[in-house]
């Protein structure tokens, strides 16, 4: 399941659906990214997630297909929010089902690294000290490079 959507993004409900369909899997790994309440010591009031409707869906679907092929997954889910999010709300849910745990762990890790560096989303965090567009950090790019070669 690949979706770019508005609210609500209910990670537990998505995991329930995903698990019900992943027949034969021995391992399901998941990741939920949430809007933090604080960043750099400032209080976060909200996060605005800009995206390019068609291009973003295409890019996210390609990341899912790559993960499925690379790790021999039984199934993969990537559900990503757009729009305005409040602290504590889920930004993204990723799940991978595989026969064994290593493939499931690595697939979710890989999808997150690619989303952070290559998926057409732009985040503006409104905080007590101003509004800031967030960009992928050096650590995100370094993490992404682990999967090359």
């Amino acid at each position: 399941m690949i979706a770019i959507q508005g609210p609500p993004l209910d990670a537990a409900a998505l995991l329930a659906d995903f698990g019900a369909q992943a027949a034969g899997a021995g391992a399901i790994a998941s990741f939920t990214g949430l809007v933090r309440r604080e960043n750099d010591g400032a209080t976060v009031s909200d996060l605005e997630l800009d995206h390019h409707p068609r291009l973003t869906e295409k890019a996210v679907a390609a990341i899912g297909a790559d993960a499925r092929a690379r790790f021999g997954l039984i199934d993969v889910a990537i559900v990503h929010r757009h729009g305005r999010l409040l602290p504590g709300e889920a930004i993204v849910f990723v799940a991978a089902a595989a026969p064994h745990r290593r493939a499931a762990f690595d697939a979710v890790d890989y999808v997150m690294d690619r989303l952070k560096t290559e998926a057409p989303f732009w985040k503006r965090e409104r905080r007590s000290d101003g509004a800031f567009w967030l960009e992928a950090r050096d650590s995100d790019h370094a993490a992404r490079r682990r999967w090359e070669a």
Binding site: G33, D50, H51, H52, R54, L55, K58, V60, H80, I91, V92, M112, L115, K116, T117, E118, A119, P120, F121, W122, K123, R124, W133, L134, E135, A136, D140
Partner: protein
């Protein structure tokens, strides 16, 4: 021609009609960059009709051109 800006470019990008002699992505970027130097940053990707264009490409009146700054999903 429809021109779209995303992320932080929404806040800074120029508005107004594009001159008729701007007929490819290179010329468009140069013209826009004259009003907003941020658009000349090499990390900014140019997308025409949902396809990322690494080099230059001719533009028609019904093309949609999008300028994408560095991405940060997840």
């Amino acid at each position: 021609m429809r021109i779209l800006f995303f992320g932080r470019l929404r806040d800074v990008a120029p508005v107004g009609p594009v001159p008729a002699d701007v007929r490819d992505t290179g010329a468009l970027r140069a013209w826009l960059g004259g009003r907003c130097p941020e658009l000349l940053d090499p990390s900014i990707r140019v997308v025409v009709n949902d396809e990322i264009i690494p080099g230059d490409r001719p533009l028609d009146n019904d093309d949609e051109v999008a300028f994408l700054p560095a991405m940060s999903g997840g």
